[in-house]
Amino acid sequence: MIDKQVATLAEAVAGIQDGATILCSGFGAVGSPDRLFQALLEQGATDLIAVSNNAGSGQIGLAALIKAGRVRRVICSYPRTTDPVVFEEEYRAGRIELELVPQGTLSERMRCAAAGLGGFWSPVGVGTRLAEGKEEREIDGKRYVLELPLKGDAAFVRADKADRWGNLTYRKSARNFNPVMAMAATLTVAEVGELVPLGALDPEVIVTPGIFVDRIVVPGGEA
């Protein structure tokens, strides 16, 4: 019997180690699993690497983890989003590392890890500062840089609905990074709005099949 639901947010983030790389979904504040970040704050893991499009908004979610000094490094495309005060302060103070990755490369590097590939030749960044130190080659008359897979020890995603097999659906633009991050981590934890009975999700409409999901938690609806 497959039942990926865990009873509490604490169980959802149990076992995440110091030094872990966490894929943090969301685009701005939309589709961001803020309750999982809060649970990880309470769990205590530190020295983390956060992979995220932005570097946290306001004082909650990823920003709260950063503020508490738990994040050693952020790998992202655009740290500044609505109200990026926490990251900016840490960054200016030199207390956090930033690895800047073009937004499409960020997604593609995670998909590359998810698909078991060793790397890919990307046209993006060629001739710019962000290609410095990267291997370059010409293929069919065009220049590319080698990009390597980016895998998470854990992925924190946020979904609208789930079933006990871990199948997930999303709402509108809250889909964003969730599907690719769910595929690209050793441990994928989903904060979901609603758990529905097995078979209630239309098999044509499931966006993230349960094979990619390890734990589901329904905040406020903990068993």
């Binding site: 685009f27 701005g28 504040a29 939309v30 589709g31 499009n53 570097a55 495309s77 655009y78 740290p79 500044r80 989003t81 609505t82 990026p84 990251f87 900016e88 960054y91 200016r92 930033l98 800047l100 990755v101 073009p102 937004q103 499409g104 490369t105 997604s107 593609e108 995670m110 998909r111 990307s122 046209p123 993006v124 960044g125 060629v126 001739g127 710019t128 500062r129 962000l130 999303y170 709402r171 509108k172 633009s173 809250a174 889909r175 964003n176 990074f177 969730n178 599907p179 690719v180 966006v207």
Partner: protein, 223 residues
């Protein structure tokens, strides 16, 4: 001589977007282009977070917090629109599926070099977002910007002073003074605002202006 305001620059660029085009609008002046789409044309606006068919801002009371664009602004979806994952949004960008990217810029150099992602301001963290992906991937890149900086320095240059987003990608530029196409050794003047002469515009431009035919006059409505 009256330079165009931001809305008028957007209006002028909008007139050149063909019916049926798939278009990504960058943050800033380009975002305004959606407001001036000629009524008889169907244009499909793309957003990096996973939307095609982005519609106007929601009416009061109709806002959905899960429906934002890449600029993190609340939007709507047109009939025929679709949601998809961030990876597919960037597959569209990088794979040459977008007809047009209309972007803001700090500077454009002869040959089409684009600088629009960082000014190396030490007071804030750098962010690249999807700028490099769009510059490299869209079938055609056009820039909307002021002709000069607030300090009166030309933004159309022989060589970009700021770090490049991508070399050789910009085809056309809409400024508050003119419409210009990019050439290998200068800029080709296509249109100017009423009352401006070529010599004056040349003085505002840090690269040779070519005038192969008498430039047209930009006639925009008051906006």
């Amino acid at each position: 001589m009256m330079p165009l305001n931001r809305r008028q620059i957007a209006w002028r660029a909008a007139q050149d977007v063909p019916d049926g085009a798939y278009v990504n609008l960058g943050i800033g002046i380009p975002t305004l282009v959606a407001d001036y789409k000629p009524a008889e044309r169907e244009i499909v606006f793309h957003s990096e977070n996973g939307i095609l068919g982005v519609g106007p801002a929601p009416a009061p009371g109709e806002e959905d917090p899960d429906l934002i664009n890449a600029g993190k602004t609340l939007v709507t979806l047109l009939p025929g629109g679709a949601y998809f994952t961030h990876s597919d949004a960037f597959l569209m960008i990088r794979g040459g599926h977008l007809d047009l990217a209309l972007l803001g810029a700090f500077e454009v150099a002869i040959g089409g070099d684009l600088a629009n992602w960082t000014t190396d301001d030490p007071n804030m963290s750098p962010g690249v977002g999807g700028a490099m992906d769009l510059a490299v991937g869209a079938r055609e890149v056009r820039v909307l910007m002021q002709h000069m900086t607030a300090k009166g320095e030309p933004r159309l240059k022989r060589r970009c002073r700021y770090p490049l987003t991508a070399p050789g990608c910009v085809k056309r530029i809409y400024t508050d003074h003119a419409v210009l196409d990019v050439a290998a050794d200068g800029f080709i003047l296509r249109e100017m605002i009423p009352g401006l002469d070529v010599a004056t515009l040349q003085g505002m431009t840090d690269a040779p202006l070519h005038v192969p035919a008498p430039p047209g006059v930009i006639a925009t409505p008051p906006l």
